[in-house]
């Protein structure tokens, strides 16, 4: 029998990757291509959606070639994507209206401040589960209407379409101007500020508020479902899933039960906890989001805690301070000392995200004495990631019906043993690393495979998950509490530094 595979597309912030997985969920081949970042003005970050689509055209054949696989052996396509990035394009020509505005772009900050001041967070929280920040898509659409002549009218006439990146890719894969499917999935739609978090449909009041015409919006579909077949790149192959990247990682880590959580440690870090089939409204600074929706089954919700600066603090330590040559060397340097020597670093480079949400905070290094060496600073850098994780977990435990029992981790920083031990120590739960570190791609593959029957059910997927490493908490509780108290005092000192 000819072996069949699931093809996963991870359209990320810096690159697009295509990965083939086999039936055991093992990685078979990878192809990747970076795309250009456009920093056209301070705070603006754009991508060229046409370039991203063209890159996909290069890497899909390469991933198949690397594995010696033909399109006929691809059972399904699954897509995971950078979230909230906003693409508008012409329905007739398929040409994007300017560059895509990415999730990092802060051009809507004045608009967002205005929304919060005039309308208040509750109006938004009640409907979409989010309070306005520059992250989300709706303020960007509004910004484009305010800055591009005639755009709103064209959108109202249905000539211009909106989508996050998965919508753009699916539309192009399924024919583009020639009958392409204009759809999104519930996880991506939950990041627009336009979808009602309970009904999973576009919310009339939010559409009215932002002035977004329904005619430009994609249809909201489950995260795993047979959407249709591809016509470009992989003719006749079924497209079976789309999820935002962090939700895909939650799915790839098989966090299928309420209370299960994962943290992806990258430049920033994203902690998501499965909260079951009811949306939990956070009282502690977390985002309510759709975790996944499989076909007709009930929607599974998640609480999300984004942390702005984790891996990027190590990069700063390497590139700006020059105290190490490569990121992994931070562990070597940190191990030259026994502890932090009383030093703490709060990396509020552009304010603090979850659970504080304080844009007036700036980074601080506290507890400096003549005793402190670069080794102590290296410890403080790593510990900052540990304590920020702890703060988000505390918020989750306060909001969620199920306290965290173990944390599943992925991302580049999981290679750092000292950090992973520290995270286990400060959370006081086991920290577990899975064998497939490409959890984003794996999650999209799992959802797509599920949709087409390549994998039978969630239990089958769970059996593919294997523990590659585990760190058990060993820290003395008294010391943990004392250190946490010190961290909290350090955070207090970072707040209010920026004057508005």
């Amino acid at each position: 029998m000819v072996e069949r595979y699931v093809l996963s597309i991870d359209q990320g912030t810096t690159s697009t990757r295509c990965i083939l997985f086999d039936h055991q969920g093992r990685l078979v081949s990878v192809a990747q291509r970076e795309h250009q970042q456009y920093f056209t003005q301070p705070g603006w970050v754009e991508h060229d959606a046409t370039e991203i689509w063209a890159n996909l055209g290069r890497i899909v054949p390469r991933a198949l070639e690397n594995a010696g696989v033909g399109p006929g052996q691809v059972a399904a396509i699954g897509i995971a994507n950078q979230r909230e990035t906003t693409v508008l394009w012409d329905r007739r020509t398929g040409v994007p209206i300017g560059n895509a505005i990415t999730w990092q772009d802060t051009r809507t900050d004045a608009l967002v401040d205005e929304l919060r001041r005039t309308t208040g967070d509750d109006f938004f929280l009640d409907r979409c589960g989010l309070s306005p920040t520059t992250y989300f898509s709706a303020p960007r659409i509004r910004w484009l209407f305010d800055h591009v002549d005639g755009l709103r009218e064209r959108a109202e006439r249905g000539e211009v379409l909106f989508g996050t990146v998965e919508s753009w890719l699916i539309w192009n894969l399924t024919g583009g101007p020639d009958g392409g499917l204009h759809i999104t999935d519930a996880t991506n739609a939950s990041r627009t500020m336009l979808m009602n978090i309970r009904t999973l449909s576009w919310d009339e009041e939010l559409l009215g508020y932002f002035g977004v015409p329904r005619a430009m919006l994609p249809e909201i579909r489950p995260s795993a479902e047979r959407y249709g077949v591809a016509r470009a790149l992989l003719p006749d192959v079924r497209i079976g899933a789309a999820l935002g990247d962090q939700q895909a990682a939650l799915f790839g880590q098989t966090c299928f039960a309420m209370g299960e959580a994962k943290c992806t440690y990258g430049t920033g870090s994203f902690l998501l906890m499965n909260t079951g089939t009811d949306p939990v409204r956070s009282r502690h600074g977390l985002l309510t989001t759709v975790g996944y929706k499989i076909g007709d089954e009930p929607t599974v919700y998640a609480l999300e805690g984004p942390i702005a600066v984790t891996g990027s603090l190590v990069q700063w330590f390497r590139d700006r301070l020059g105290l190490i040559h490569s990121a992994p060397e931070i562990e070597t340097l940190a191990r030259t000392v026994e502890d932090n020597g009383g030093c703490y670093i709060v990396p509020a480079f552009s304010g603090l995200f979850a659970p504080h949400w304080r844009s007036d905070a700036r980074g601080v290094v506290v507890g400096l004495t003549s005793y402190i060496t670069k080794g102590h600073l290296a410890r403080a850098v790593l510990e900052a990631t540990g304590w920020q994780t702890r703060e988000v977990i505390d918020a989750m435990n306060a909001d969620s019906p199920e306290p965290l029992k173990a944390l599943k981790v992925d991302g580049g920083m999981t290679a750092n043993n000292l950090l992973m031990q520290f995270v286990a120590d400060v959370l006081d739960v086991p920290v577990v690393r899975p064998m497939v570190s490409e959890t984003v791609s794996l999650g999209a593959a799992y959802a797509a495979g599920l949709a087409v029957g390549y994998w039978p059910d969630l239990e089958g997927l769970r059996r593919n998950w294997h523990r590659a490493g585990q760190w058990m908490p060993t820290m003395d509780p008294a010391r943990r509490e004392a250190e946490y108290e010190n961290w909290r005092r350090a955070v207090e000192r970072s707040l209010g530094w920026m004057r508005s």
Binding site: R26, L27, T332, R467, Q470
Partner: protein, 255 residues
């Protein structure tokens, strides 16, 4: 016997020159001081730069001795960097082989375990990172000895300890085994440290082919070997593939 290699003599002269005086010289100064054509001096400096023996100041363009020269003799590849660079390949090896994977580097006459991936059967296992193995009684260690990553003399002088009846304890046995490992490109240690346990390992090479560590699988003899105690050939192939993949990532060209 071939005569001295001229370019190496010239490279040595450049390093001696940079070690003198202020230690920062421009290309013109180097070529003038040694009577070399600028093109020749530049080629040698670029090569020395690529192996980190020489550094070039970004602003002035002047050359000086590189940090790697100061640490000659100590391990040039950071162990945490090695783990970070090999983690995906080690995971893939564990997933394909179904066995636990470990990475070892030499440390003071032992093998230091710098990375460990659990056997993918979700039984309770604990991380071995930081533990030490004997060089002469593990496949990881024998690879490090065979390919010169750590000197053999101290092991021989210290009378290798016998852990089981299979441990190689005589100089002759060990010398012959290491020769075979160099020939084959991989090592196995079957019940040489603990009865019932075996490991299979292959060398991880860095720039220029220098062996910087070893990667291998370990587990019970029944799973790793056939009924006559010989390592399972497909398993050996997987270990060698993983070692080559990590080596390529580290910049070893030919392996």
């Amino acid at each position: 016997m071939a005569g001295p290699v001229q370019s190496i003599e010239r490279a040595a002269a450049i390093l001696r020159l940079l070690a003198q005086g202020s230690g920062r010289l421009g290309l013109g100064e180097v070529s003038a001081a040694l009577g070399l054509a600028k093109g020749t001096a530049h080629g040698i400096l670029r090569t020395l730069q690529s192996v980190d023996f020489v550094e070039q100041d970004k602003e002035t363009g002047k050359y000086q001795l590189g940090a790697a020269l100061l640490h000659l003799g100590t391990s040039y590849l950071d162990i945490n960097e090695l783990r970070s660079r090999s983690i995906n390949w080690a995971d893939a090896l564990a997933a394909r082989s179904g066995e636990a994977v470990r990475l070892g580097v030499p440390l003071e006459g032992k093998v230091l375990i710098v990375h460990h991936v659990f056997r993918p059967d979700d039984t309770f296992q604990t991380l071995d990172v930081g533990s030490l193995l004997p060089l002469h009684a593990s496949a990881l260690g024998k690879v490090l000895l065979a390919f010169g990553a750590t000197p053999l003399e101290p092991v021989m002088e210290a009378e290798p300890e016998g852990y089981t009846r299979h441990t190689l304890t005589s100089h002759q046995q060990l010398g012959r085994a290491l020769g075979e490992i160099r020939e084959a490109g991989w090592a196995a240690a079957v019940q040489e440290m603990i009865m019932g346990e075996a490991d299979i390992a292959a060398p991880i090479r860095g720039q220029g082919g220098l062996v910087v560590g070893a990667i291998g699988v370990s587990g019970s003899v029944e799973r790793l070997c056939d009924s006559r105690g010989r390592p399972d050939p497909p398993l050996v192939g997987l270990v060698r593939d993983a070692a080559r993949a990590v080596s390529r990532d580290l910049g070893a060209a030919r392996w």
